[in-house]
């Protein structure tokens, strides 16, 4: 972003409908965003050529800037799928959740977030999270209820569950990076390649630096003998594949219950 010099774009009903629908989703994968864009053009203006997604979004962002809102692009931490989320920069991200959740539920989220950030793997087990229900602010919560609340966080795309363990959804990472940097400066981990917040990834056994899986994939894409970018020691993990939208599309068609069964690494 280049500050005040940038030209502010123009909003039409195409952009407005796009924003409205993106807002109801909170987060969308790139393919869905493109479909959404096409849909909005079709509804309002059949003849206009569909603008390149990047330009389309830049245009909207230039208008959103003065509202401290942004359509942010990110990638999923496990397999690097590109995603887009409408994030707010003016109020704390927890406040965005405040309309959907009660005080004790929000506190449960904070506790889970802390466990996830402090963990070595980027995952917190449901048992560990549920053990904290007695310490929650606000109304008393039973473990059974807490389990239900955790599922609500998953449904609303704040958390992801994998076999009883929880990690942050990419949407939450996009929305909360700044917040986490401020509230957990010590505990948070940074990717050695892209220098963004890292929740799950791989780490060097020797010097301890960490890398996102998609960053690992890109960084070692061409190397036959991967070495740590920091200490040059042998990189001891399996190198994931670079995300390929073409392949992903095929996979999605042949296997509509898309659930990328990646092994968890750290």
């Amino acid at each position: 972003m280049q500050g005040g010099t940038r030209r502010v774009g123009t909003m039409t009903d195409v952009h407005r409908r796009f924003l409205q629908l993106l807002m109801t989703h909170g987060v969308l994968e790139e393919g869905d965003v493109k479909r959404l864009q096409k849909h909005c053009y079709k509804v309002h203006d059949c003849n206009a050529p569909v603008e390149k997604l990047e330009d389309f979004i830049n245009n909207i962002n230039s208008v959103l800037e003065s509202l401290y809102i942004e359509i942010k692009k990110g990638v999923t931490e496990d397999d690097g799928r590109p995603i887009y989320a409408l994030v707010n920069l003016a109020t704390t991200p927890i406040s965005k959740m405040a309309s959907d959740f009660a005080e004790n539920e929000l506190d449960l989220f904070r506790k889970a977030l802390e466990l996830i950030i402090d963990s070595e793997t980027g995952f917190a087990s449901s048992t560990n999270i549920l053990n904290l229900v007695d310490q929650l602010k606000g109304k008393k919560m039973r473990k059974k209820e807490a389990e239900h609340v955790l599922q609500k966080f998953v449904q609303n795309k704040w958390l992801i569950e994998k076999e009883g363990d929880f990690t942050l959804h990419s949407r939450a990472i996009l929305e909360m990076e700044q917040y986490i940097r401020e509230t957990h400066p010590e505990a948070m981990k940074i990717c050695n390649i892209c220098h963004s917040l890292l929740i799950q990834g791989q780490s060097c056994d020797t010097c301890g630096i960490r890398m996102h899986l998609p960053c690992v994939a890109k960084y070692f894409q061409a190397s036959s003998e991967p070495r740590c970018p920091n200490c040059n020691d042998y990189w001891p993990h399996e190198i994931p594949e670079v995300f390929d939208p073409e392949k992903h599309r095929e996979a999605a068609i042949s296997r509509p219950s898309k659930k990328p069964s990646r092994s968890r690494q750290h």
Binding site: G3, R17, L36, S66
Partner: protein, 300 residues
């Protein structure tokens, strides 16, 4: 342009500060750009314990910087967007408490600016639910299209169908209907008050509590009935979001007939259309944003 200061005629008695802010459109120039530098002027919506990002004491009096004011409008816009998702009218007192804080003296102005941005950027009109009700709702200016629902995928939309059926029923039966009649009708569609429904969950709660709280329906006991029976009417949100003509067309479509096949209702809907087209009488305009705010569309 983000927003033209469309002829904001301002009484002359206002402070310098307000005039500055009123120029709105060019305040962007004053902003250094990225949001990280932005001091949050409030603790945001209910996140108080997390708190005050770079809590900067906002001055109780004295001039506020363009940036502070712009941020305040941004917070207000976000607050309204978030609160509206629940479809429960947003109380003025809640806005004051959670967002406005020390900026109370310029609240009307902030609200107006927020309304302008909501409409220009998102296509939502901010309107007061009823005159002097001190609660606000957002009305979608974009006509809903069927594929929206498909793309939206998740929650929310299926209940709109049930709501439209109930609204249609109320209108066709002369604008007031007994609760027992509603259930007699819905039972034929496989919706029972006391039975959990696959899509609607608890239909009794949805209709007599949720739709009522969202102000789509009015629900009250009929006097002198024993055991007490209740009746339904349209709530104020319904009149803002949709119209008699739209509901009649919906009913006609369901029956695969023409709206004119119900002459009495058709005349009533036409009269309603005409009344809506007439300019607002002074004092009755609930709109905060623009003068034509009353013309809501769709059932969001």
């Amino acid at each position: 342009m983000l927003q033209k200061p469309r002829g904001r005629g301002r009484p002359s008695g206002q402070s310098e500060r307000e005039k500055d802010w009123g120029r709105g459109g060019d305040c962007r120039a004053a902003r250094g750009g990225v949001a990280e530098e932005a001091p949050s002027t409030s603790r945001g919506v209910g996140g108080s314990s997390q708190g005050a990002r770079r809590a900067e004491a906002s001055p109780a009096v004295g001039p506020r910087s363009q940036q502070q004011l712009e941020l305040k409008v941004a917070e207000l816009v976000q607050f309204l967007l978030i609160k509206d998702q629940k479809k429960i009218p947003i109380k003025r007192s809640d806005i004051l408490k959670h967002v406005i804080g020390d900026y109370r003296d310029i609240f009307p102005n902030l609200l107006k600016l927020a309304a302008e941005r909501l409409e220009y950027v998102f296509g939502y009109k901010l309107v007061e639910l009823e005159p002097k009700s001190n609660s606000y709702i957002l009305i979608n200016s974009l006509e809903p299209v069927e594929e929206d629902a498909e793309l939206r995928g998740d929650q929310g939309t299926p209940t709109t169908g049930l709501l439209m059926i109930v609204l249609g029923l109320i209108f066709m039966k002369g604008n007031t209907i007994k609760e027992t009649e509603v259930w007699d009708f819905l039972r034929r569609l496989g919706v029972f008050p006391a039975k959990k429904h696959l899509i609607f969950g608890d239909p009794k709660k949805l209709i007599t509590e949720d739709f009522v709280r969202q102000r789509y329906l009015e629900y009250r006991p009929i006097p002198h009935t024993d055991p007490v029976d209740y009746e339904f009417q349209w709530g104020p949100r319904t009149n803002l979001e949709t119209s008699k003509m739209k509901v009649l067309k919906f009913v006609a479509k369901v029956h695969k007939q023409d709206p004119k096949d119900w002459p009495a209702q058709y005349c009533e809907a036409l009269a309603d259309e005409e009344a809506r087209a007439r300019p607002q009488t002074v004092g009755a305009a609930p709109s905060v944003g623009t003068a034509e705010g009353r013309r809501g569309k769709g059932t969001g």
